[in-house]
């Protein structure tokens, strides 16, 4: 290779490595701001500000969704399996919002640690399958739960 071209090649490599590490360090420094939401464990640890607009994301706890009879108010809990944050929301939930599924709620934390949500989004996971496959999977899962129950490993 011609020495001039070799020099330019090094220059190009330097440019890419230098700019990548600069932007990489910047993203690392700003990582708290890049996160879309707080996981419940950080809310429980007091890392989320009270009275400011924040988002909390996690799994909707099975059996925690309570709808009001007279209004659109909904209460539910989100968890990351380490801590739980109760959420109150008035409005229409997205179609794919469900117990045991991911959700992101935006709103303000009150003094009691309840998130007064102004917006609730459903978080879809990366699993795609036809309904029949989902049913088969569900069936085999409950069969396995039964077997492990017989062996004494269940709850």
């Amino acid at each position: 290779m011609h020495p001039v071209r070799k020099q330019r090649l090094w220059l190009v490599l330097f440019l890419v490595v230098f700019s990548s590490s600069a932007i990489g360090l910047m993203a690392y420094a700003l990582r708290g701001n890049i996160n879309l939401f707080y996981p419940p464990v950080e809310v429980a640890a007091g890392l989320a500000p009270v009275g400011q607009n924040i988002r909390v994301g996690g799994m909707v706890v099975e059996g925690s969704v309570q709808r009001s009879d007279s209004s659109l108010e909904v209460r539910f809990e989100v968890t990351d399996y380490e801590a739980v944050v109760p959420v109150v929301y008035t409005g229409i939930l997205p179609d794919l919002f469900d117990e045991g599924q991911g959700a992101v709620a935006a709103g303000k934390l009150d003094e009691n640690g309840v998130l007064q949500a102004s917006e609730v989004l459903a978080k879809h996971d990366e699993n795609y399958m036809p309904p029949e496959v989902a049913e088969a999977l569900e069936a085999s899962k409950s069969r396995m739960a039964e077997q492990s129950g017989e062996q004494g490993y269940g709850q």
Partner: protein
């Protein structure tokens, strides 16, 4: 290998090669796009949670994948242009930018259309979506920067530097859903370990991704041919080609 590399620097040779490639690649691409769309839209089962709305995956994911891959093509062309000062590399880099911008735009719009029924919002400033928006601006930036210069050699130099600096965004887009808490779900197609998308849905998706790669190649070659003819319009071989076209 170097003679082949030098041949790529020859406009008439590249023009003829791209012509003979396009002759069979163009019909294959069209058939693959139509076939893949029919396969994905009509002959796959609906998703167990999203129903039919998931089918936008057959446009969204291929457009996004090729938009990311196309950026590397542009950046590598930019590096070749910086190191070897090859005019054909300038042309390839410039030709990538509008195609990449279009694919990124398609990915953003289809994602937004899918986001409304699935998440409950058209837009959210999460890491994946924001970094994808930056990719769109990078592509548009290359187009704008190139057009801002009268001197094409200078324009190519500036664009090459911009596209090389921008490469850092590609791994950020790809890993954004794993590095940060985002609303966008992690990748369903995995290179290592099992994919979390059912095979009956995965195969038409992989087929569509391949079709989009072909589409990108076709668009790139067509763009480059136009640019080659424009730049070389005063040369003997282009005049001979034009005379032949006018006579035939």
């Amino acid at each position: 290998m170097w003679t082949l590399f030098h041949k790529f620097g020859s406009p008439p040779w590249l023009y003829r090669l791209s012509g003979s490639i396009l002759r069979w690649l163009l019909p294959i691409t069209l058939l693959a796009l139509i076939g893949g769309a029919i396969w994905g839209l009509l002959f796959t089962a609906p998703d167990f949670r999203q129903g039919n709305s998931y089918r936008i995956i057959y446009i969204h994911v291929p457009a996004a994948v090729v938009a990311l891959a196309g950026y590397y093509v542009m950046a590598i062309a930019g590096a070749v242009s910086l190191i070897w000062r090859m005019k054909m590399a300038d042309i390839a880099m410039r030709a990538c930018a509008p195609i990449g911008a279009a694919l990124t735009f398609v990915a953003l719009v289809t994602g937004s259309i899918w986001g409304k029924p699935t998440w409950g919002t058209w837009w959210v400033w999460d890491a994946r979506i924001t970094s994808m928006l930056i990719l769109l601006f990078l592509y548009l930036g290359v187009v704008a920067l190139y057009e801002a210069y009268e001197n094409k050699a200078l324009a190519a130099k500036a664009c090459a530097i911009l596209s090389l600096v921008g490469t850092v965004n590609i791994p950020i887009i790809y890993k954004s859903v794993d590095w940060w808490y985002s609303l966008h779900q992690p990748a369903s197609i995995k290179f290592t370990g099992g994919s979390t998308i059912d095979p009956s849905m995965l195969y038409p998706l992989l087929f569509m991704i391949t079709a989009f790669y072909c589409l990108f190649t076709c668009a790139l070659l067509l763009n480059m041919r136009v640019e080659i003819l424009q730049r070389e319009q005063r040369t003997a071989w282009v005049k001979a080609l034009a005379n032949k076209g006018a006579a035939g």
